[in-house]
C-alpha cells in the first residue's frame, strides 16, 4: 500500500499580535478507507503563451483512462513563474457546463485541493475539467499532479 503525505505549514510572525503557525499532515488515502491512494499523474509541466482558456485536466483524455469520480482524488497546481503582477486563473467546470472560477495563482503560488473528477461525456458537457486562463501572453509554466484511485 502506497503512503503519500501532504503537509502544510502556514506561518506568520507579524500578521497579528501573536505569531500564527498552522501545520497539518494529511495521509492521502482512498475514499472512506485507510488504504493509500495508489495512482498518480506524476509531476507534469505545461507552458502557456496565450490568454486562451485551456483544459489543464481534461477528464475525457486523462491518460487514456477515466478517473474514478466522487472519490478522494487530490490536485496540486503551482505557477512556477516569478511575476507577482501576472496570474493564471484556475476554474472547474460545474454541473451546468459553465466554468466556476476558483482563484488566481500568481508567480510562485500553489494550490492543493480535493477533486471529485465527475465525468459525464466526451463532449465535456458537464465534466469537471480543470481549466486555466493566463492573464498575459507572457510565457507561464504550471506544474501539477493528480493523485487518484
Amino acid at each position: 500500500m502506497a503512503k503519500t503525505t501532504a503537509q502544510i505549514t502556514l506561518a506568520s510572525p507579524d500578521i497579528a499580535d501573536n505569531t500564527i503557525s498552522i501545520s497539518n499532515v494529511a495521509y492521502l488515502t482512498k475514499a472512506g478507507s485507510a488504504v493509500g491512494l495508489d495512482q498518480t499523474s506524476g509531476l507534469r509541466r505545461r507552458t502557456f503563451t496565450s490568454t486562451s482558456t485551456v483544459k489543464l485536466i481534461d477528464l475525457d483524455h486523462y491518460q487514456d483512462q477515466t478517473l474514478t469520480a466522487n472519490k478522494a482524488a487530490k490536485v496540486y497546481i503551482k505557477n512556477t513563474g516569478t511575476s507577482t503582477a501576472e496570474h493564471v486563473k484556475v476554474g472547474i467546470q460545474n454541473a451546468a457546463g459553465a466554468l466556476e472560477e476558483i482563484g488566481w495563482l500568481y508567480g510562485g503560488d500553489w494550490m492543493f485541493f480535493p477533486y471529485s473528477a465527475a465525468y459525464t461525456s466526451a463532449a465535456h458537457a458537464n465534466n469537471q475539467d480543470i481549466d486555466v486562463t493566463p492573464s498575459s501572453t507572457d510565457s507561464v509554466t504550471l506544474e501539477y499532479i493528480v493523485f487518484y484511485e
Binding site: 502506497a2 503525505t5 506561518a11 475514499a31 478522494a72 472560477e101 476558483i102 480535493p114 465527475a118
Partner: protein, 139 residues
Amino acid sequence: MATTTATITLASTDLISDSLSLSSTTTLYDAGTTTGLTQYDSGRVKIPGDNNIYILLDSTAAAVNKGNRVYVANKNTEDAHYVDILIDEAVLGRLYAGDWMFIPWSQADAAANLEVRAPNEVNTVEYAIFHEGRTFTGA
C-alpha cells in the same frame, strides 16, 4: 506589511518507483503586488450531517479578485466521514477526515461563496482565510 508564508511538502517513498519529494513555499501577497496580506479570519465549526449546503465563507464585494487564500481542514477521524467543498454550489471535491486544502479564492462574484456539505455525519472543520479586506454589514 505582514509576511505570511504557505509551504507544502508532498512525499511518498512507494507511490512510484522512485521517491516523491516536492516542496514549495509561497508568500501571501495582495493581488498583483509584493505587499503582504494583512488580514485574516479563522475558526472551527461543526458542519451538520444533513446533506444541506452551508456557506462556510461568504463572498464579499471588497474581496472580489483579490489575493484571498483559504485553508480548510477536516478534523474528523473516521475514515468514511467527509465534507464536500463547493464554490457557488459547484463541487470541487470531498475533504475526508484528516484532509486539508489550500486554494486561492478569487470570490469572482457575490454568489461565489465557499460552501460545505456533510452528507451523513457531523464534521468538524477548521479554516483560515488570509485576505485584503471584506465588506462589513451595517448593524
